[in-house]
Symmetry: C2
Subunit: 216 residues, 2 copies
């Protein structure tokens, strides 16, 4: 590519930027009560949001990290509620273990069923996923209705997720759906309150896959 | 799909949830100094983040909204820095006017050039975009290096964006890149500080396309 102006090479490499960012996060966060295993997820969520309040609001089921690492190493599927989560997850480490990221929300049968039942595609996509992806990591960053339906299916014994990462963002039902998730005794990663979103869920998965690859 | 348990139809429809969310945002935000034209962008950014601090930190060039609406109506391209922004943007309203969302960061020539120059793919993707997408809306939610390179190309007279939406998130260079953007006298939407991200940039574009479609 030809340009009239000179190109200045970078003086700081991307890897150095990440290291420096992570140091800043640890220093600014200060004292916290997360375990050593949970902290990489907290750190990467703060890195993706620049929001310490959001980072501090994370809540982990006691078996969440080991369950997430085991699912990734076992090549289990990751089920995302929306395409933004699907494309955001770093794939090489997931593929290395034979896994991949699926999203069902735009499948023709899901769209047809949602119309027939007069409900959301997010809900129907969870009903399809639990039939196809036993032991999967469910990554929900957008739709509280998807998370509430998944929780219902778990309670009814129709879903057996390996891990639920449930951090939908929003003003109606988002915080409430996370309150329900925290009552389950299966592995989950969530947060308290309205904040969350696709980039946050992606950060959590990427942190888990880095741990899975590093310790393997 | 067969399930053992009964499906409960939704009592609240998604459209009602959005209306209720937007009412809550307006009520909780209270007094602000955004114009009537800017407010839909602020509202949708808060909706996507549940973060009033982030919403209040938005800064608009005086011509930003009219420039964004004109670009969308004129079928100009939207250039995203990362795929998460590309897939997150609601397409029907963009396509209606003949536009689309492009992302260059994984193009083979961009990857090769970045390696050759020992720089980031984000930087090289901007250099390619300005040659191919005159008058485009640039939507940068992830890479401060992309935003800094785009600003440099504007100053050198090598880029003529219709609008720059620059809200990368991060601890190193993100806030600084936005400080530089605010010094330009071309249409921009940005914010003050470290926060931002793909979902925030997507929210801003969706707000603009709704305005473009509604007033057309």
């Amino acid at each position: 590519m030809d340009f009239k102006t000179e190109f200045k090479p970078l003086t700081v490499q991307p890897e150095e930027i990440e290291v420096k960012s992570f140091e800043m996060i640890t220093e600014e966060l200060g004292a916290h009560s997360f375990t050593q295993e949970q902290y990489p997820v907290v750190q990467r969520v703060i890195h993706a949001s620049a929001d310490f309040e959001l980072g501090r609001s994370l809540v982990f089921h006691p078996r969440a990290i080991e369950a997430g690492i085991a699912a990734i190493r076992g090549g289990k599927r990751i089920v995302a509620d929306v395409q933004m989560v699907q494309v955001g997850v770093s794939k090489p480490r997931i593929h290395k273990f034979g896994g991949d990221v699926d999203v069902y929300i735009s499948d023709p049968d899901v769209m047809a069923e949602a119309k027939r039942l007069n409900t959301t595609r997010a809900i129907v996509s969870m009903r399809k996923a639990v039939k196809e992806a036993d032991g999967a990591i469910y990554a929900i960053g957008n739709a509280p209705t998807a998370l509430l339906e998944l929780i219902r299916l778990v309670k009814e014994g129709e879903a057996r997720p390996g891990l639920i990462i449930g951090m939908p963002v929003g003003f109606v039902s988002a915080a409430e759906s996370k309150d329900e998730l925290r009552k389950l005794d299966i592995p989950f990663i969530t947060n308290i309150g309205r904040k969350g979103g696709s980039t946050i869920v992606v950060a959590a998965i990427n942190a888990l896959s880095i741990m899975a690859a590093a310790e393997a």
